[in-house]
Each structure stands twice: as C-alpha cells, then as structure tokens.
C-alpha cells in the first residue's frame, strides 16, 4: 500500500534522482583520496614498526 503511494509521488516528481546525480567521475575526490591513503599509510607504517620492534627483540 505505502510502496504504491510512494511510487506515484516519484513518478510525478520532476526531481527524481537519476544515475547522473550519482556519477562520481565528475567529482573532485583528490582530498578524500589523500586522506584515505594517508590513513592506510599510517596503519601500514605502524604495523611495520611494531614488527621491527618484535624482530629486534628476538
């Protein structure tokens, strides 16, 4: 019942979200990319340091 009602509203709505609105290719993700890689890099470096500490105490 509710689903049909929503569907009708969407059909009349001219501002229906389309695939184009979610197209990431046109977005500038440079800042996001840098932060994701910086966080990943920090985790990897932290792991390597812990491993080197372990090996130095063998």
């Amino acid at each position: 019942m509710t689903e049909n009602k929503n569907h009708e509203i969407h059909e009349d709505d001219s501002q229906v979200e389309t695939h184009e609105d979610h197209d990431h290719d046109s977005l500038n993700l440079k800042g996001t990319f840098l932060m994701v890689m910086a966080l990943g890099g920090t985790i990897v470096v932290g792991w390597v340091l812990a491993f080197l500490l372990f090996m130095s105490r063998m």
Binding site: H24, L27, L29, F33, M37, G40, R57
Partner: protein, 157 residues
Amino acid sequence: MHKYEKIWLSFGTVSLAVFLLILLVSALHGGHSPAASGIETIHPEHVLDDERFANPGLYESDDPDYDYDLYFVASAFRYDPAEVEIPVGSRVKVSVATTDVIHGFQITGTNVNFMVEPSLVSNYTYTFNHPGEYLVLCNEYCGIGHTDMTSIVKVVE
C-alpha cells in the same frame, strides 16, 4: 566508479588479504599451536605439589633444543622466585603456572610476554643474549596488589 575509488578499494582489499595471510601464518608457525594441541594442563590448587613448581627456578635441561628450564609460580601478588640469574647467551624455556587467578608474565625489553591462566602451564622459549637486569611484571589486572607483582631476571656474564 571514480579512478581514485578503484585505487583505494584495491589497496583496502589487498591489505585485508595480506592481513589474513599473516594471521594464518602467525597462528600456526614458530611454536604457536592451535588451542588444545600440545597444551599442558595443571590443577591450580595442586601447582605446588608438582616438583617443578614446588621449587621453582633455573634448572639445566636435558632437551637439546634449549639449555635451561626456568619455572615460575605466579600468585596474587607475587612471583616465585623473586629473583633469578641466567647465564648470558643461554636458551631458556620459561614455564609459568598460576595458583589462583589469571596473571600476566612479561620480561620487559624481550618478546617473553604471555598470559598465565589457571589450569594451564604457559611457556615460551627465548635466548638471553644481552646482559642486564630485566623487570618481570604482570600485565593482567589480578587484584589490589597487581602493581606490586614483580620479579627480577638478571642476565649475567
């Protein structure tokens, strides 16, 4: 999908695969055995009836894989022995049992660091190559005297 999204998703996926591989290797190699395989059990109320733990300390070993056996009894809130001397360069199998609750056993500055659980004999084999005085401490909160629970390992020439 954005080019950057492909890069960080690949990075994340590869990291996950590497992590799982490391987990698998570290769980199985180097004396780390799966649970219930090669584990020695001991009744916590009868730890002191066992001759190894009745007079804990450093003993020469018959096993060719290591030079000495080192036995420790952990109890709230002390280790027995309170001090032990180990000749430098010797390979030692450290075995620890608890008479009461869960304790920790860490020889600071080394990789000897494990939990001591009631009914289990915990052990780790380590070569003491550097002379010095090492603090032994409990890393599992065991009660009001937890912070005073220490021992000393002296690695001597």
